[in-house]
Amino acid sequence: MSTTPEERLDVSMTINGRRYRSTVEARRTLADFIREDAQLPGTKLGCEHGVCGACTVLLDDLPARSCLTLAVQAEGRQIRTVESLAEGQELNTLQRAFREQHGLQCGFCTAGFLMTATALLEENPTPTRDDIVETVSGSLCRCTGYQTIVSAIEQAAAEGQNVTNGGDQ
């Protein structure tokens, strides 16, 4: 049966290793759920129509646009956000590479790039520069001119970064 957008549904999902349960409107986006209900505002909304990639999170280890995903679609699934990346109170290798390569300026698009790159490096720990460009070109950045982002991901890969351990480990 069809559900109205305002109808409230129960949802339960795991974000960064922690279980969240709530009752939300069917139309509530996953991005709003993550940012407001789970209080994890590191995931940003740049366009809300699935183009800019700022809101990218990992949904069962694959990059997903949280602005185009409904919270109820994440029922029972594992989500990772930018808040899961740091190792204790230290930047992880990828984050450190972004800093060292000056791969961010305003930082608004950064979470999306980090999550997309995390998925890439988990799937292919030794990507070429072309692999990186092909995978990460779906995210927009208005500050950096992109080259330093590619270099950061290259550096992280070169440092043998093991990013398979998300916040749920």
Binding site: R27, C47, C52, H102, C106, R142
Partner: protein, 801 residues
């Protein structure tokens, strides 16, 4: 020309560089990389309500009826206002600039009897959630009679249907001036080259949209306003001037900001409305713009024609330049910059560039149209003016049979200080060296060889050159130099703590430029301490240091000057006490690398940390009559206009089958005087150049004949993506400013200012076998393919296709 009186706050201390000039990693990054930045959308206040706007779906119409009762009855709605409701509090924002021929407009906060562009706010709704507010917007009941939409700026400027009844001639701006004997130059010219160049309408499109939160507490009359503005202090002033909130109780708070690029350097109706709404409903209200709103209602940029002509003598020297700019200003002057921001800036700031031109004449016009108002975007006017000038330089080089490097070298200014025909003084520069450096970087003979070889294979590469002079460190002096009287100055506060660490507060809000890092470098070197021991707050609140806005490539220069001046006051205190502790004369004490030392006496030193501790806790360390505050606030405003310079050479290939412009490599030369942090300067270059590539090839805010905007998502409005972004080779020249702190000059805008000219010149170079010269942006695949195919059928290239 009126000259600026020199004041105390215009001198800066001499400081030995330690941290300045090095690639200090940014202190901002750990927060931003871990999702711990705090952007405006991340801020939630207890009891807050959410705001959404009803915006005009038509370009030009008379509102005959507007009924918000269904909205007001909707679930969760606290308040809904139309233009009539808000006019009682504020008639609107006046936009004008003190230049010849500017006719002001008043932009209502919500449309009154007429809507003048698609996206103009018509009604505002306050509700329990953003979802509820947007639902309620759908319930508006209104009728309007459509009026003729004025879309074309040429037609508008010629008269005819009126876009905005406040501008019956459709002209928001109309003026001009002449310097030197321009007529003689053109009458006696051996050759005249001229062209009409078009820069299309674009959006700055920062990744973070605009946002405002207002919280008003009636009992204390306290207004707190969060805005991701580039001009928090100016916004505070406007809130008191237009709305009457008591100045002493207004605080503007600027959180982390996701890019601004000029779009956030305005005062918008939304920023005025939210405080009124908060006061009315007695609860905090929050508005976060969505991307569609940002593309249709955030300030637009750039759209204008620049007609430019050079008079050339028999030797190929430019003897005169005539420039006329016609801008499409949109429906209103965008406060505070007005329609002058493009056409006036283009003709006043840029016609001579790096060239030794003795006579210049300009006219400017801005036409009102039924489109979104045009405002500031990184390098206002400079982009279009540089585009026209540098592309005409290539036209001239072609006409003279010279290389683009040789033509520029033939005409470049060689002696400084140089005064242009308008009387603008350029103190120093590496203008000729830029041309030489670029020619060497691209290995021009090798390029020509490769170009010829590839042409034989039916491949078309091109090299485009563009040299710029950028007015930087926007100041009272710069304003006066360009014929305005705007007053700028900023303050900074520096405090040395008991353990010898420092806290710095500046009056500029930051949008990603890394000001917290570069200002820590400036403070560290002045105080003689380590950069890691300095913590900088940018203008998060107007309760602290004062600032005239993060605009006009002024951050590093102006905040840097204020920081150095404030740190110098503290430094003098440390020197006095160190001298007393070391039994030496104050003049002999120097502060470097964490030590206060007696000059020339190797073992006579005390750590700065120990001096600071002593000032706080040890009266015996004090000299007689000592005043122990280790905190100082000082102002800074450069005493003279200053100009950075540089150039770009851009290498492209045109895909013969698709007309797509592929960017192979960017060569950039930048001279911004002393470089505080090369990482940050290079980041500004790369980002700015890519925006220039976007404005040249990928981006255009398109309208149809009825004035409907067609580009309302990032699917229709194409920003450059990673797969089209070229690699860079960047070369720094350093010609320090003679009067700024540490010799720093500003450079935040030069990438966007100069890249489009290099792109068009590169494309035209690649098209040269086809005998076609393009002059209009954007260089879409259609235009490029037409240029290649039309020419093929008409005359045909030399090589077979």
């Amino acid at each position: 020309m009126k000259k600026l009186d020199k004041h105390q706050h215009m001198s800066t201390p001499a400081v030995a560089a330690r941290s300045v000039g090095t690639r200090v990693l940014r202190s901002e990054d750990p927060r931003l990389l871990t999702g711990r930045g705090e952007f405006i959308a991340d801020i939630d206040l207890p009891r807050q309500l959410h705001v959404a706007f009803v915006r005009s779906p038509v370009a030009h119409a008379r509102i005959t009826n507007i009924d918000l009762s269904a909205i007001r009855d909707a679930d969760g709605v606290a308040l809904a206002w139309s233009g009539k409701d808000v006019a009682a509090f504020c008639e609107g924002l006046v936009g004008e600039m003190a230049v010849e021929g500017c006719v002001p407009t008043t932009m209502p906060l919500l449309a009154g009897d007429e809507v003048l562009y698609v996206g103009e706010p018509v009604a505002v709704v306050v509700a329990e959630s953003r979802y509820a507010a947007e639902d309620a917007c759908e319930l508006i009941d209104w009728d309007f009679e459509e009026l003729p939409a004025v879309i074309n700026m040429d037609a508008a400027a010629a008269g005819g249907p009126v876009a905005n009844p406040q501008l019956p001639d459709n002209l928001g701006l109309n003026g001009g001036a002449s310097f030197g004997d321009v007529s003689a130059a053109f009458d006696q010219a051996a050759q005249i080259v001229e062209g009409r160049f078009y820069t299309c309408r674009v959006s700055a499109a920062p990744m973070e949209t605009r946002g405002v939160i207002a919280d008003y507490e009636w009992a204390s009359k306290t207004l707190r306003l969060w805005s991701n503005t580039q001009m928090p202090h100016y916004l505070k002033y406007m809130l008191t001037a237009y709305l009457g909130f008591p100045e002493q109780s207004v605080e503007v708070i600027t959180p982390d900001t996701g890019g601004g690029f000029g779009m956030k350097a305005h005062v918008y109706p939304e920023e005025m409305l939210l405080p009124l709404l908060a006061r009315e409903v007695g609860r905090p209200v929050k508005w976060i713009e969505d991307r569609r709103e940002n593309l249709i209602a955030g300030a637009h940029a750039h759209e204008q024609y620049v007609d430019i002509a050079y008079a050339l003598d028999a030797e190929g020297k430019i003897t005169g330049v005539r420039t006329h700019a016609l801008g499409d200003g949109g429906a209103y002057h965008m406060p505070p910059w007005s329609m002058a921001v493009e056409p006036w800036c283009a003709v006043v700031m840029t016609p001579t560039g790096i060239y030794d031109v003795p006579a210049a004449e300009y006219t400017y016009k801005a036409a009102a149209t039924n489109k979104t108002p045009v405002g500031a975007y990184r390098g206002v006017g400079y982009m279009a003016g540089t585009f026209a000038r540098e592309c005409l330089a290539d036209d001239a080089a072609r006409a003279l049979g010279m290389s683009p490097f040789d033509f520029r070298r033939h005409n470049v200014v060689r002696e400084f200080p140089w005064t242009n025909p308008q009387g603008i003084v350029y103190q120093e520069g590496s203008w000729r060296q830029t041309i030489d450096a670029l020619e060497e970087m691209v290995d021009y003979p090798a390029f020509l060889h490769r170009q010829a070889q590839l042409r034989e294979q039916g491949r078309y590469i091109g090299l485009g050159l563009s040299c710029f002079v950028e007015s930087s460190g926007e100041s009272s002096a710069t304003s006066l130099e360009h014929g305005l009287g705007d007053v700028y100055h900023d303050t900074a506060t520096v405090r040395l703590n008991p353990n010898g660490t420092a806290n710095v507060t500046i009056g500029l809000s930051a949008q990603g430029q890394g000001l917290a890092t570069t200002m820590a470098q400036m403070a560290a070197d002045t105080l003689g301490i380590k950069v890691e021991d300095v913590s900088v707050q940018t203008a998060r609140s107007t309760d602290h240091a004062y600032g005239s806005g993060t605009i006009g490539s002024r951050g590093a220069v102006v905040a840097g000057g204020a920081v150095a001046r404030a740190a110098d006051v503290v430094r003098e205190k440390v020197r006095q006490v160190a001298a007393h502790m070391l039994e030496a004369a104050t003049d002999d004490i120097e502060l470097v690398d964490g030590l206060a030392s007696v000059k020339g006496v190797s073992d006579a030193s005390v750590s700065i940390a120990d001096v600071a501790t002593a000032i706080y806790f040890d009266l015996d360390s004090w000299p007689k009559d000592f005043e122990p505050s280790l905190e100082a606030t000082q102002a800074y405003d450069p005493s003279q206009a200053m100009f950075s310079n540089g150039g770009h050479a851009i290498l492209v290939e045109l895909e013969a089958e698709t007309g797509f412009v592929r960017f192979e490599k960017i060569y950039s030369v930048e001279d911004c005087g002393t470089v505080i942090n090369p990482n940050i300067v290079e980041g500004q270059i790369r980002g700015g150049v890519l925006q220039g590539i976007g404005a040249s090839v990928f981006e255009e805010l398109a309208y149809d004949e009825s004035g409907q905007i067609l580009t309302t998502t990032f699917l229709d409005y194409g920003l450059p993506t990673m797969d089209v972004a070229p690699p860079f080779e960047i070369h720094h020249l350093e010609t320090p400013s003679s009067h700024s702190a540490s010799g720093v000059k500003g450079m935040g805008e030069s990438g966007l200012i100069a890249a489009p000219a290099a792109v068009l010149n590169a494309v035209n170079d690649a098209l040269s076998p086809f005998g076609v010269v393009l002059r209009d942006l954007p260089l879409t695949p259609e235009k490029v393919l037409d240029a290649m195919s039309v020419a093929t059928t008409a005359s045909g290239p030399d090589e077979g296709l």
